[in-house]
Symmetry: C3
Subunit: 302 residues, 3 copies
């Protein structure tokens, strides 16, 4: 039994194995039929990620239950442990956990006998998002070595950014960050370069836009929408200056006219729907490895 709670403990070769397996599912290959039950434990609502895991579980032949956490709090590791122990006692095999706060994944993983899959936690980890982004890049370029990936937006609060930095760096890409100074992250400053968006746009192979998450900020959003779009959005003007073979990505859902202009969304180099497609394939690979992990060799448990 394996867990996937952070990419930090995944080796390059394990990530590559997961991506290969996911590609087979993306190509329509049928998985080994698994038996078991997945429980989605979403302390933070996320319709799309929840549905993506449900689709993945269904294609594997698994049952899915939703543990309704609307009124729950994750403040104490203790209550999280109670929840996971209950899910284990109910007979489930995998808990897929989404939370706006970090939780002590390694500690909890030792105390329960079910697989834990992190579907996004705090500002640090979103392993399946980084994997599906990597798969999307691999499908387009065929390789990672030497690619320049610019991540743009609210870096400070972004688990998507941090997980992608970890995964794509391991795979050989060069990452750089851009966006409002206001959203610069101290923990990343020493090892990921901060660049000017308008200069970076011309040298990037991948431009990865982050969602403006009004709902997650306690402080007031310091920009007018139009101003944000002009300064840090993918406008048609910027897209014209991109390399011909470069691609654009976004974890979704897009705020149209904020991160990305309406017309740009129609551009074939905008890979957002491909990311959604790959999300199901990657999550199938992750759930499968949780249940049948030995076939892949060792997945480091977080």
């Amino acid at each position: 039994m394996y867990s996937l709670t952070t990419t930090k403990m995944c080796s390059k070769s394990f990530i590559e194995t997961l991506l290969q397996r996911a590609q087979l599912f993306a190509d329509g290959k049928e998985p080994w039929k698994c038996n078991g039950t997945v429980v989605n434990v979403f302390f933070e609502p996320s319709t799309r990620t929840n549905l993506s895991f449900q689709m993945a579980a269904h294609r594997l032949g698994l049952h899915v239950l939703n543990f309704d956490c609307t009124n729950s709090s994750l403040k104490k590791g203790e209550s999280m442990l109670d929840t996971l122990q209950t899910i284990e006692a109910l007979g489930a095999n995998i808990a897929v956990i989404r939370s706006s706060e970090d939780w002590p994944a390694m500690e909890l993983d030792k105390k329960v006998n079910i697989s834990l899959v992190n579907a996004g936690s705090g500002v640090k980890d979103h392993p399946t998002q980084a994997l599906l982004d990597a798969l999307t890049i691999k499908q387009h370029f065929g390789y990672f070595q030497g690619l320049t990936v610019t991540i743009v937006g609210d870096i400070l609060h972004s688990r998507v950014a941090r997980s992608n930095i970890d995964v794509l760096t391991k795979l050989g890409a060069k990452i750089q960050l851009a966006g409002p100074e206001h959203y610069k992250a101290d923990d990343l400053a020493t090892f990921v370069p901060w660049v000017d968006f308008d200069e970076a746009i011309e040298e990037s192979d991948v431009v990865m836009m982050l969602r403006v998450q009004h709902e997650r900020h306690s402080e007031k959003f310091p920009y007018e929408i139009g101003e944000y779009h002009q300064k840090f959005g993918l406008t048609q003007e910027r897209v014209r200056r991109m390399k011909p073979n470069a691609i654009m990505m976004h974890p979704g859902p897009v705020n149209r006219g904020v991160e990305i202009a309406d017309e740009v969304l129609e551009d074939g180099r905008c890979k957002i729907l491909q990311q959604v497609r790959n999300g199901v394939a990657v999550r199938m690979a992750v759930l499968e490895v949780c249940l049948l992990g030995e076939r892949y060799g060792h997945l480091v448990s977080a």
Copy 2:
């Protein structure tokens, strides 16, 4: 791949084919086992319609997912397109859409490669409701030609009324409308007669009551409940004046003592539960035709 977004583009013979197929399911015939996933996209809550589609999908062997739209808005066709493209990218086959507002069905249907089924939209279309009502009438009378159907209540805001007018007229019935003058609909005035309820009750073969939808009116409901019931409700007195073989219908859920008196609900000629039963059968036929449409010949895509 077919869609069913309005009855307006369905021919009489296509409607008849759907009703025949639904009757087989109502009789307990097992369907072709289909493979696929239905996503229920309900921007407006409707427990019963949602469950009816879920039952229908299960009996066909399909998976059902719920796309939670509680906090979503349908104001812009754009966001609806984003939602449907996401559902397609997740790998689903059919989106069942319920919405209090109209949406540009024909336009959206061209842009996505999944079937769209309208589970009620705006004040104009509720195709599966009209089909299940038609099936209920057909089971009782065996024919439509020459039947007089009186639809009673809030015509102005009723998609049930408009869809039934379209379907039942095509099938040969004669429709007339009654209810508060306040709820008369200009768009229907020129081609569907407005009648006095107390006169109509004696000549109707079908009395179709509409639900008083307090929740949908921004303006204040202009009647006392008791007054509405006395003027426009199915009281025992009115039921006594009905033709012996006439039937009563209601799309549910009934406001007891408002549209229909408690005692009248016990009357064998009150077909409400039969409508619920037929709802599952009709929705099976609709979902099946979406997936396997060629077997039925051409279903006009809305």
Copy 3:
């Protein structure tokens, strides 16, 4: 077709049959594959009980639908009848009903042709909870005759207490009650002894703690948390005075540090997770008997 709406009408031998069957499921025995649909009708939210019934239904091969009752009221038996008749007309086989209020189970059971399973109602009945508690006790001791079971806490508002008193008394155990005088229940006073918790702790074979349900009390909770814990909680001091072979139970979820001290939850004699495990097994047996009841002989319909 059988219903299980109260344990009051279950004979001792029927209860024993259910427990035997549940033990087989707890041991991993596969059930007869059933066909059918269970609809969960929860007027009062209860994530764990809902999931437990879903797991049980899945293991039996049944479909589960959730009838969303968030905005519904159970004030009138009539609306409950409408709901159940609709569920029947949709083609479901079993309605699992949870409600903070009592409902006229016997009367409704006669009017619909589906099985009714009570998942907790009012302050009187919670049959599957009492059955899973009985199974947990039986697994530990092997018998009931002569065991002393002390139920502790808010007896007044507790359906768990009342259902356990009924079932465990039938099985031969001796029940006594303890807790705040404030929560003494007049209806139980004449036939179940009220004891001092600190004396009872030393002579009890089973100490069954009730949940402090802040959410269910309209009146103010009359204790400080710390004070309640000291007077009526399972502190380490009290646990040290328990018989060596005695066990502790709680219907969950526990308010840590209120009913039970954190450290006590780690004690092997604390059977809370075993109760969760047994919940699925017992509910499998109940759903199975609803669908295939004749194999077990007569289950008295409530």
